[in-house]
Symmetry: C2
Subunit: 155 residues, 2 copies
Amino acid sequence: MRYLKEFRHIILYGLILAMLVFALKWLQWKFVLVDNAIDIYIGLVALFFTILGIWVASHIMRSRVETLIVEKEIIVPQSEPFAINTAELQKLNLNSREYEVLQLLAQGHSNADIAASLFLSISTIKTHVSNLYFKMDVKSRTQAITKAKQLKIIE
Amino acid sequence: MRYLKEFRHIILYGLILAMLVFALKWLQWKFVLVDNAIDIYIGLVALFFTILGIWVASHIMRSRVETLIVEKEIIVPQSEPFAINTAELQKLNLNSREYEVLQLLAQGHSNADIAASLFLSISTIKTHVSNLYFKMDVKSRTQAITKAKQLKIIE
DNA sequence: TGAATTTTGGTACTAAAGTATGAGGGTAAC
DNA sequence: GTTACCCTCATACTTTAGTACCAAAATTCA
């Protein structure tokens, strides 16, 4: 199908040429009586074939249009989906419970709240929190939250 | 200058045509002796002018350049410079001192620290903090910090 | 199995945070 | 001038947070 379309112009050109054989023969016979007619005849032929050549070329050329690609930059703001800083988290050497407590702490929960949600006693939470502060080198929950967010070890 | 360049092909075409007048006359005289020479002669003319037409057309067409603009998405790691949510901040209706205290609070400072840095008594800070909690609808400094960061009213 | 670590919990205490209430001085609007 | 905030500070109290020290299960690892 593609080849048919590609060579459409060439086939058309062939057909037109075939038709011209007859047309030329007729013209040749008609102008034979007129003096100097041969010059006019050749002139017409030249003109016709020039136009034909231009027409054919323009149709062939159309598929060969130079395409200048201009890249237009569009800035797409990338909202980074927050990645936990695993390296910093490992440095602190928190155990799983301590990290769990830290997360709840940073959400604004009290020791009592945390104890309730983890089904532990307040004493246990206090122990975890104290160890947490020691490991994080802070002295209060507010400092712990601030530091944890700075280090990107919690959301 | 531009016009000269634009019509260069047309001028060239004209010159070639002038030269052809002589060439044709010479060919016409030469082939007059040969039988059926006129057909060959016309065929050559047709062929030549077709090629000429194609040549002219291809040179004219060459100046037709399509400009295709392709939008290229470029992902920029846009580090947004943090904008304080003024709307939310106004909703809370905090006065200047309360907001000042909130900022220091969120940095992990104790009431005593805040009092020292603002040259105020701890009592004053406690009052501000209490009013702050009431306006923010929270019950502790950790909740205040969490909420303030959520609302983006502090850095 | 034994040692180390984690997880849990307790008591006792101190420090800090938070609440409630009052009060005095300042400023700005009505 | 009175009303309404804003800012300051105080006292008294309750609650929560945080420290220190201890200890018993549970788990992990060599």
